[in-house]
Amino acid sequence: MAQQTALSAPELVDRIVAGERRALARAISLVEADTPTGREVQAALYPRTGHAQTIGITGSAGAGKSTLVGALAREERKRGRTVGIVAVDPSSPFSHGAILGDRIRMQDLTSDGGVFLRSMASRGNLGGLSETATGVIDVMDAAGFDVVIVETVGAGQDEVEVATAAGTTVLITNPGGGDEIQSMKAGLMEVAQILVVNKADLAGSDTAVTQLKALLAIADLGAWTPPILKATAKTGEGIPELVDAIDRHQEHLHSSEHAEDERRALSRKQIVALARASLHRQALEVAHGSGALDDLVSAVAARRRDPRSAAESLLEAVKREWAASE
């Protein structure tokens, strides 16, 4: 089949701003693949961002994130807002293939012209989610959606990463997840601005709320204290209250008193996260490419060297490589 003539970045930008959904879909692919055109589109669109409420939904596997994203989107639509959704599914790390099934639960939203749903594999790549998700959120924001929701797999690092990409991060837990809540690091509390005990139709939701409260009490909070809500995503119960809480947090973000600080804090987190991810990836590329890592691994495994000085040597090798490629 013939290859479609690729649109240039300025053409894509014009079409996205004009509301052309196909251009938006194509641009998301380019951002996801991190192509030069994708980067150009991202850069050109960035000044147009800032309109959307950006919401990150995170939590452990099976907590009900996808179900809740659907319920949330329906409630936002009831309130007359347009919604962009990025659903991130785990990919099988083996072959890099993935089955993305979140559309199954949001079929009704496919027929709604006010919704744009994009499925994404997490790819398990070194850059992690932050690089891609931040870019895709920005493109949807610039495309004019009132609300942009990102669901991510709650695997450790990702939870922190999604928090850097979204204005409001919602952490989903479940009743009976007591051990899990206990072992949750207080740091996780600090990246979420709203805590939801989902599956409140099951026994034990009050206990979960109490445990979350106890964790919050020792967390290092700023000017915003995360509310703890109960919800049943399956039936929609508690979802209007969740949207209210998100709105309150977004107001907090934009209130004259906090807006500047919050914007700077979010921008700082984003820059640092993106730089770290990029550094990580580039360094490992050099390390693997030059064989330097393998040599060091052998030395440390045989206890001829200590890991710390090996790490320093690795960094030196990376720096030399960079200097040489300049």
């Binding site: 959904r21 692919s29 890099h96 293939g97 089955i99 099934g101 199954i104 594999a121 790819r123 790549n125």
Partner: protein, 135 residues
Amino acid sequence: MTNERPIRVLIAKPGLDGHDRGAKVVARALRDAGMEVIYTGIRQTPQMIAEAALQEDAQVVGLSILSGAHLELFPRVVEELRQRGVDDVLLFAGGIIPKEDITKVQEIGFQGVFGPGTNTNDIIEFVKSHAPVRA
């Protein structure tokens, strides 16, 4: 800039029958071959399929149909795609399509038609060699 992009394939079941075992087998086979498969489930209308293909920027759309309504539904899928400007996707179909209909289905725009008992490797090969290249 080293991300190698996997082929994105949308797998959907149009029509009213609720059996998606075949569709799932194909979805898993394509995943195992390294593709990103967006699985949309059963009872999809032509509008839903076309809209999902657009939003997901799928390069390939595979439909599984057992109900016998292919000659009615497939042209509508093609029309809905056309209306959305989605003019560069590879289409293929599987399920129960009688031999005498295969040429008609191909004329509608489904380059690949795979009957029951097809080896999934044939589908993988077909998709790999025909999927449009995305610049």
